[in-house]
């Protein structure tokens, strides 16, 4: 390429540094292979700016030429140049593996170390065997060490057989071998690691245990169990963690009674290990092995955790406590002065819903601070026990906190029953909107003639918020029972009310045909939101007679109303709308065209298909892609013989 020639000339021309940098950048940008030797030469430049520009260009160009040009620099006497060469080869080396593999037989120890290192970054399966051979045969310990590290980095199963054999090497190499095996997780390594465990120093043993834990293979459990009694405390804690990691709680229940007891005892010790990961595993394990003492200790640990910073650990602790079930320790904590343990217990109680804990929560409720009260109310609401009704009625009568009140309303609404309607209705006058909303939902859930009448009366009131609530409730209670009110609401002066009135049809879609004239009128509402709601509704309900209305919405002034109409027509397979959709799909508004293309793909048929073929030539790539998908969709559905 002419350009590249010029670039090479500029690289070698001895211009000022910014010219050379620009040339290097151009070389990279244009992928100039022929600039590679010149660029490699510049890596040794004394000017750091030039050096760096050459470095970046070489990485972008890559290829065999780059690898070959950079390898000789590994032998440079200057460390920065060597490091730079290494770094470039890590990124580009895979493009010429044989050259790198050849270096593994170099006479120079350092070069063999470098090559082992670089091969680890190539991601290539062809690097495994040469690295494996180096691991087992190289006379230099640092080469073997680096080969193991690199095999781990590659993370390929084929490496396991070399690494397993290398477990007998000296300790320095063992470290990297074990780490690599943990990354590779091959089943064949379990036995090898287990064997090595018996012959190892404490340090290596703990690495092996950790590796076995991470590998998660059940075959290791029996062997680890056997090791428990003889191990030092630190090692034993690690073994506990590994066992929990492998078995994952549940299968701990399958251990024999005696084994479980012994293990539970060790887990309690592990709970005090300084490593948080060990503590966490101990908590999880205790969640399945259980016991009064375990419950107390896990609770103590959990109470010391910070809900924000240690969120995940806290979840773990609560899981464990719930697993151990209701205990005396939990009840005592509820009565105690400390807020944290009590909060933890409430979290556990909402999971267990056991009678003693629920009763305890109620009995301490009024004496605790607002935050805990909110949580207790929540927990009791989740448990939804009928016998807590008097408690919640008292809350509704006495409490002033919005959040607590909402919870109580939710409980009562779900429970229902005689005589609560009056109470709930009263809360529609509460000053907080969210409390009103909760009361309204509760009223709808409870239902009944009494409430029904009240909402009807409420709709006649002046206050728009009251009318809005009434319409919402009547819609939920059934349009059929409130025909006149809903009809009036569709014409209300407040747009939100018109919108809510429309939405009241969405739940059941019944009798929509009969309402169509009134609904159709809303297609010309002055408010975009209301028009959108109509389209939403018509798209969501079934019925051939709704389709012409949707087509009408295609003429809306607002793009998104039209988008929703297009979508709805597509979803409903409206064949009659195809001509209009074709028009839109080939029109100038790309957003609408995209949606129309999708719709045509969904509807299918000859006309749609032909139109889509035309869109395949569209300029906009996004539109082209959409057309391809739509065409494929029609072809898949098999209706079109080509």
């Amino acid at each position: 390429m002419q350009d590249c020639k010029k670039i090479v000339a500029a690289l070698q021309g001895g211009g000022d540094s910014s010219d050379i940098r620009e040339a290097a950048w151009q070389a990279g940008e244009n992928g100039c292979q022929e600039a590679v030797p010149a660029l490699a030469g510049l890596l040794a430049s004394g000017n750091l700016g030039i050096q760096e520009a050459a470095d970046q260009a070489l990485r972008r160009i890559g290829g065999k030429a780059t690898v070959e040009a950079v390898i000789p620099l590994l032998r440079s006497d200057e460390a920065p140049v060597r490091n730079l060469a290494m770094d470039i080869l890590r990124e580009t080396g895979a493009q010429d593996l044989p050259s790198l593999v050849g270096l593994l037989h170099d006479e120079d120890d350092d070069i063999r170390i470098f090559a082992s290192d670089i091969l680890g970054s190539t991601g290539s399966v062809a690097a495994v065997a040469p690295l494996g051979e180096a691991l087992l045969r190289d006379p230099e310990v640092n080469v073997r060490y680096q080969a193991a590290v690199s095999l781990g980095e590659l993370g390929l199963k084929d490496a396991a057989r070399y690494l397993n054999k290398a477990l007998g090497d000296e300790e320095w190499v063992q470290f990297s071998v074990i780490e690599a095996l943990a990354k590779i997780r091959d089943d064949s390594s379990i036995g090898a690691l287990a064997k090595a465990l018996h012959k190892s120093s404490d340090l290596v043993a703990s690495m092996i245990v950790e590796a076995l834990g991470e590998m998660g293979n059940v075959k290791a459990v029996t062997m680890l169990m056997k090791h428990l009694d003889a191990a030092s405390t630190a090692l034993r804690n690690k073994i506990c963690k590994a066992i929990v990691q492998i078995l994952g709680g549940k299968s701990l229940k399958l251990l024999s009674e005696a084994e479980r007891e012994r293990f539970g005892h060790y887990l309690l010790v592990a709970l005090t290990d300084e490593d948080e990961a060990v503590q966490d595993a101990a908590m999880t394990g205790l969640g399945f092995v259980g016991g009064e003492k375990a419950s107390a200790e896990v609770l103590a640990l959990a109470s010391g955790l910070d809900p924000d910073r240690d969120h995940d650990r806290l979840v773990l602790a609560v899981d464990a406590l719930a697993g151990m079930g209701p205990t005396r320790a939990l009840e005592l904590a509820l009565e105690g002065d400390d807020a944290r343990p009590a909060q933890v217990v409430v979290d556990v109680a909402r999971r267990l819903c056991s009678a003693p804990l629920c009763e305890a929560m109620k009995s301490v409720f009024w004496g605790r601070d607002r935050d805990l009260q909110r949580e207790i109310a929540q927990a009791l609401c989740v448990c939804a026990r009928p016998e807590d009704k008097p408690f919640f009625l008292e809350v509704l009568g006495r409490h002033e906190d919005g959040t607590v009140l909402k919870t109580a309303l939710e409980y009562i609404g779900a429970l229902g029953g005689e005589g609560v309607g009056e109470l709930l209705f009263g809360f529609l006058e509460h000053p907080y909107d969210d409390v009103k909303e909760a009361a309204l939902e509760a009223c709808v859930q409870v239902g009944g003639q009494g409430l029904d009448d009240r909402f009807r009366a409420m709709f006649a009131e002046q206050d728009p918020v009251r009318r809005l609530m009434a319409v919402y409730a009547m819609g939920k209670l059934g349009v059929a029972g409130h025909v006149d009110e809903i009809r009036a609401a569709l014409d209300d002066e407040v747009p939100d009310i018109r919108k809510v009135a429309l939405e009241s049809f969405g739940d059941s879609c019944v009798d929509l045909g009969q309402w169509l004239p009134a609904i159709r009128e809303r297609l010309h509402d002055e408010h975009r939101e209301v028009r959108l709601t109509v389209v939403e509704l018509l798209g969501h309900c079934e019925g051939e007679e709704l389709l012409p209305c949707l087509e009408e919405a295609l003429d809306d002034e607002d793009d998104w109303v039209r988008v929703r109409a297009v979508e709805a027509l597509g979803r409903r397979g409206a064949e009659a709308a195809v001509p209009r959709l074709v028009e839109i799909a080939t029109g100038t508004n790309t957003l609408l065209a995209l949606k129309a293309v999708e719709a045509l793909g969904a509807i299918g048929g000859k006309t749609a298909f032909r139109a889509l073929l035309e869109v395949l030539d569209a300029e906009d790539p996004e539109l082209q892609a959409a057309a391809e998908d739509a065409v494929a969709r029609i072809q898949e559905s098999g209706e079109e013989e080509l």
Partner: protein, 292 residues
């Protein structure tokens, strides 16, 4: 009043971003600004955009992606999106130890060198200037160093940012007390005018700075910036992936005059990004210098 009904049909479901949608948006944002949203910031994008989607009445993040490309309001929306994915956090005299080194060493050396060369020009570039606190701080420090000599010097601070919104505030130059929380009181007295509870930057400081929009991912745009003695780019490249960091830093290198200085944020580093600069360690700051 509609707030009463958070659960109407159209708003019923909470948006979540699907993996393909996230990839689409991420690539789009990257192509537009060089800002790379890492996977672990996905939820952030989701949370910050969710309400926007509701306001626009869109049904999914995929639709938002369409909106950004095809809607009549896409230009403005892109600017909004930039506001969402960037953090404009800044203040006057942010990171005082670094600025002390800047004033006592970097500025004085540059001034001395220029004086010797008989060239009374000083050019500083604040890339990613946000609402202007950083370039105004530079201007104050220059006034401190040059003192009464200032009128005899030809000084220009070029201050750029991606976001038009922050540039508008920067040009206004009116700040709350909070923006001045690490500013020495005597500096406040000297360089600000109090106006009903707020602080306005003195007009003569404003004249030293020219604000303008720039997209750091646009190499050609960066090439057009006048060459500088000093480049400030603090707390900006954190949003970029390594590839983009390399390109931006390389452009700063090209922009700097020989012997020029680069200052980056204290939590940022050029490690694995560039070796071209010579780092000098001072108490509380590393200053990068281009060779003479």
């Amino acid at each position: 009043m509609a707030s009463l009904f958070t659960k109407t049909i159209s708003l019923k479901k909470e948006f979540t971003i699907e993996p393909e949608e996230f990839a689409q948006l991420r690539d789009f944002i990257y192509a537009q600004s060089g800002i790379y949203i890492a996977d672990n910031r996905k939820y952030l994008l989701e949370n910050r955009l969710r309400n926007r989607l509701k306001q626009l009445n869109l049904k999914s993040f995929g639709e938002y992606y369409y909106y950004l490309q095809y809607d009549a309001g896409r230009k403005q929306e892109l600017n909004r999106l930039f506001e969402v994915v960037t953090t404009n956090e800044t203040s006057f005299f942010r990171n005082p130890p670094q600025l002390k080194v800047f004033q006592d060493h970097v500025l004085r050396e540059v001034v001395e060198a220029q004086r010797k060369a008989g060239d009374r020009r000083i050019r500083i570039w604040s890339a990613g200037c946000s609402t202007g606190e950083e370039p105004y701080t530079m201007a104050i420090q220059l006034c401190e160093v040059l003192g009464a000599e200032l009128p005899g010097w030809n000084v220009r601070i070029t201050a750029n940012d991606l976001s038009e919104g922050v540039l508008a505030s920067a040009r206004r130059g009116v700040y709350t007390e909070y923006a001045l929380r690490t500013t020495p009181p005597e500096m406040i007295r000297k360089y600000f005018v109090q106006t009903d509870g707020n602080y306005a930057v003195r007009e003569d400081l404003k004249k030293l700075i020219s604000f303008g929009q720039i997209n750091l991912s646009d190499r050609m745009q960066l090439k057009r910036v006048e060459r500088s003695h000093i480049v400030f780019c603090r707390n900006v490249i954190i949003y970029f992936d390594d590839e983009m960091k390399k390109r931006v830093i390389s452009s700063f290198y090209d922009n700097l005059l020989p012997g020029g200085y680069l200052l980056i944020g204290h939590s940022e580093s050029l490690h694995n990004i560039s070796r071209a600069f010579k780092p000098t360690h001072y108490p509380g700051a590393i200053i990068y210098r281009k060779e003479e």
